[in-house]
């Protein structure tokens, strides 16, 4: 009887959680899409707000973290960009597009932080 009760509880939780997750991902996707539209129009601040919201709605959405990294890069916020790219790669380490963006960013990031031979 206890086993049946547990199974029912798990089923009930899943019945609530799965659609909730789907809703959040769908809302996050809408934010990401809007962010991309405005970024193409040069409205980077608005794009960043949208992508931030997307990552809050769904912190496992690697694409949103990737886009946020790009947005921060455009604004010259290097540490934030690096954190966003790191997060995107942690979630989706095999994504070639994210890797490509990250590599291009690292080239600039390292140059900005290179102080080895400065006096």
């Amino acid at each position: 009887m206890r086993v049946v009760r547990r199974a029912l509880l798990v089923a009930a939780l899943l019945a609530v959680a799965v659609p909730l997750y789907a809703d959040r991902r769908s809302d996050a996707k809408a934010e990401v899409a809007f962010g991309i539209d405005v970024a193409h129009k040069g409205l980077w601040r608005e794009a960043i707000l949208r992508w931030q919201k997307a990552t809050e709605l769904d912190p496992t959405y690697a694409q949103a973290w990737n886009d946020l990294g790009i947005g921060y890069e455009q604004m010259g916020k290097f540490d934030e960009a690096r954190a966003a790219y790191d997060k995107a790669l942690k979630i989706d380490p095999n994504n070639e597009y994210i890797r490509q963006n990250y590599d291009a960013f690292r080239e600039i990031y390292d140059r900005q932080n290179r102080r080895g031979r400065d006096h």
Binding site: H40, A62, Q63, N66, Q100, N101
Partner: protein, 269 residues
């Protein structure tokens, strides 16, 4: 027989499922390229200056290029177009000669004796260059920078040293040989190694930034770049000089002003 059919069916199903998964994944991943301009913050705060004066450099190495004149000219033209500072137009000062002149005037010997052969450079290597560059840190020079400051309305002074030298090296280099089959016409490639002689150039500039109001050094930065070519190629020294400086100038400019680096990134949905 039945188990064979089952296996075939199972393999086909697996292939369809994996195919569908790949198509779905590709369909889900929406990508778009976007152009970005990443701002690189200036390494120095130059807000106190409205003008910049590229005085000249202690230069040495190959006599094929007048590294002092070329560097002053190049930096001035880059600063004119890529910085907000007004560039003071003066002739490049031959700093090594100036240092020796001052020493002789004060009863001291030249740092290095004049070369016996007129075609030889006075400053041949890093050791010679350092001897002259160190002289620039004398207090007498502080007074000179301040004097320039009074003369040119307190600019930021750019000076330093530059060594442009010819290099030669030899070693094994990987080669790919192509051979064509006489009957089939098919090309085949064989990797191999070949001993080659190389020659090239190296450049070692150090840029020093001085506050002409006080004569104090604000910042300095040293660079090194080199390039080598097969000894069969004849590359003019001046074109190598510009090739090497092309790699250094963006970093020099980013010391004084915010630079924007254009690039393409991939936005993902």
């Amino acid at each position: 027989m039945r188990s064979v059919k089952f296996m075939i069916a199972r393999t086909a199903a697996a292939a369809i499922i994996s195919g569908l998964a790949a198509v779905t994944a590709a369909a889900c991943l929406s990508v778009s390229d976007v152009q970005i301009e990443t701002p690189i913050q200036a390494k120095m705060d130059v807000s106190a200056f409205q003008r910049v004066l590229v005085v000249g450099f202690v230069a040495g190495g190959s006599k094929a290029v007048d590294a002092n004149t070329e560097t002053v000219r190049l930096l001035k033209s880059q600063l004119r177009t890529k910085s907000d500072l007004k560039v003071v137009d003066t002739d490049p000062l031959p700093l090594a000669d100036e240092i020796d002149k001052r020493r002789i005037a004060s009863g001291e010997a030249r740092i290095l004796p004049a070369p016996a052969n007129a075609s030889d450079p006075l400053i041949k290597d890093q050791k010679d260059l350092k001897a002259y560059a160190d002289a620039l840190t004398d207090d007498s020079w502080k007074a000179y920078w301040r004097k320039l400051g009074e003369q040119y309305q307190s600019p930021l002074i750019v000076t330093g040293s530059i060594l442009f030298t010819e290099t030669a090296s030899s070693g094994m280099q990987q080669t790919i040989q192509t051979t064509q089959d006489a009957t089939t016409g098919r090309a085949s490639y064989t990797e191999g190694k070949q001993f080659v002689d190389k020659k090239g150039f190296a450049i070692d500039p150090t840029f020093i930034f001085i506050d002409s109001r006080t004569g104090d050094q604000l910042y300095s930065q040293a660079y090194h770049q080199d390039v080598s070519y097969s000894s069969s190629l004849t590359t003019p020294p001046l074109s190598s000089y510009f090739e090497l400086m092309d790699k250094i100038v963006p970093s020099f400019l980013s010391t004084l002003s915010t630079q924007k680096i254009k690039g393409t990134r991939v936005l993902l949905k």
